[in-house]
Amino acid sequence: MALLEASDVHGGYGGMNILNGVNIAIEADQIGVIVGPNGAGKSTMLKAIFGLLEVNQGEIRLRGEPITNLAPNKLVHKGMGFVPQEKNIFPSLSLQENLEMGTYIRPNNFRRMLEQIYDFFPPLVEKRHQPAGELSGGQRQMVAMGRALMAEPSVLLLDEPTAGLSPMYMNEIFERVKTINAAGVGILMVEQHAKQALAIAHKGFVLAAGQNRFTDTGEALLNDPDVAKSFLGG
């Protein structure tokens, strides 16, 4: 049974559909990457999965259980984590308090998870009492991912985790994503840096105009001349 499966999803904002039948499926140990041109509905698809906009056709399942249009805080309880692209930290809370908000639903796990997160992201340790709003872009991204991981999700949704970061930080984030996945967390992420992202992906989904254009393994997509020509910049 797939960990996360979305079939024929239609949806959008205020009656205007942006998604016109998207299919996504990843297994428990996989990294799935959604790529595609601007306006293809990549981030919209992620938000639809996380219950942030209305799905008016199709179905989304988590381990076989239907979760279509479930409210975000319920999804968190079911083991889903979401890291938005922007505004993904609490700026006036300290770094550690940001992480603490990640275990809001299971406060007893806080100490144990905190150690794990600091192991994952060693640069965070020495800044833990700083307000998160004062951190650099890469550090913020780590805090945002750390916050989501604190709840021990079985699947993590990442919306363009490397947007606006320097190449050095970008590679670091991709490395972290691989480590997190190796620890047993399924990952579905949207990325602009399609080549680099597909390189670490088990499954890739190329969206255009709110529909799947290509769906295959990351490697196969990277090597597909059609994909390369239209979506990976040659």
Binding site: N73, V76, I89, F90, P91, L93, E97, Y104, I105
Partner: protein
């Protein structure tokens, strides 16, 4: 030295009293603003409601305080706080939450809160009439006279019992609020929601709970502030429009959404009011002989008359909106 004592009584003590009351009101206003993003105009009437409940309870059990040695009103205060807090949560459920659910603009909820103001005023005056009443029913207000250790000061500094209680309770409230916001899980979640409501939801924080907690704190503090104001002077049902402006000014001066700023703002407004209505020629009187003869000081050197006291918070509000709309502590909501 009597002039200095006069200054202490009229500026330092009065300013601290007004400041404490404004601070406790402004904390509620600023918390509501940071969680629900609207200016809660019914806040001053929640203060009056709390005081009214204390008045009613004190009338029912006028002797209750004698056993403990505190004014009966103070003994009744916790009960009134609980009822006011419940009322605040109830008002939100009935009147504000449906508007929020319709995703109206914040200013529509502001108008809704004015509707609540009028309803509360109507109810309060229906039960309490329109005249002032003392909260001391079976007792008398204790007054402490502190003699000054100077030979020239023949007059004492005067502090009343409710003022002392007010200072103590303000301190307790401020420390308690600080511990709640910085240590407790719920308090941190509240700050998180004020920072970024969407992310708070995405972290599994139940925003309805946070809203309810906000109203409980705001309502409880409103009851304290209203009761102690009424103990200090008297219970007046029609106080609210005069309290509203200083409280909002305090919240804005401190930076809206910033609880510690609201406390500072409350004291800024409180002291500014007393400094502005203070007659400065009293302080200059001892020096009069050393002035040149052509300089004849007028008897009244107050910046504004007491009847224009309300101008002071307004002036500060305007000044802060013109020069620094984020407030002295950089509020989150502009």
């Amino acid at each position: 030295m009597n002039e200095l004592v006069f200054f202490l009584n009229n500026v330092v003590v009065s300013g601290a009293v007004a400041g404490s009351i404004y601070a406790m009101g402004a904390i509620g206003v600023t918390l509501v603003f940071s969680i629900m993003r609207f200016a809660h105009f019914a806040h001053a009437d929640m203060m009056t409601l709390g005081a009214l409940l204390v008045l009613a309870l004190t009338t029912l059990f006028p002797e209750a305080g004698l056993a403990i040695g505190l004014p009966t009103a103070i003994v009744m205060l916790p009960v009134a706080m609980v009822i006011t807090a419940i009322a605040a949560v109830g008002i939100d459920r009935v009147f504000y939450r449906p508007l929020r659910a319709h995703k109206v603009k914040p200013i529509v909820i502001v108008i809704g809160s004015l509707g609540v103001t009028l309803m509360l005023q109507g109810l309060i005056r229906l039960f309490a009439g329109t005249s002032a009443q003392s909260l001391y029913i079976a007792e008398r207000k204790a007054i402490f006279r502190l003699e000054m250790p100077f030979e020239l000061a023949s007059r004492p500094v005067i502090i009343t019992e409710p003022q002392v209680i007010l200072f103590v309770l303000t301190l307790v409230a401020v420390v308690g609020l600080h511990l709640f916001l910085s240590r407790s899980r719920l308090g941190k979640a509240m700050r998180a929601m004020s920072d970024n409501p969407d992310l708070a939801r995405a972290s599994g924080i139940n925003t309805d709970t946070i809203v309810a907690v906000t109203w409980i704190i705001a309502g409880g503090l409103a009851a304290v502030a209203g009761t102690l104001l009424s103990l200090d002077v008297a219970f007046k049902p029609d106080l609210s429009f005069f309290l509203l402006l200083p409280i909002f000014a305090a919240a804005i001066v401190g930076g809206v959404g910033h609880p510690y700023g609201a406390i500072a703002g409350g004291f800024v407004i409180g002291f500014a009011e007393t400094l502005a209505v203070f007659n400065w020629s009293v302080l200059l009187r001892p020096l009069r002989d050393s002035f040149p003869t052509w300089l004849e000081l007028p008897n009244n050197l107050a910046l504004v008359g007491t009847e224009y006291k309300i101008v002071v918070p307004f002036f500060i509000l305007v000044a802060i909106l013109v020069w620094r709309p984020t407030g002295i502590f950089k509020g989150k909501v502009i």
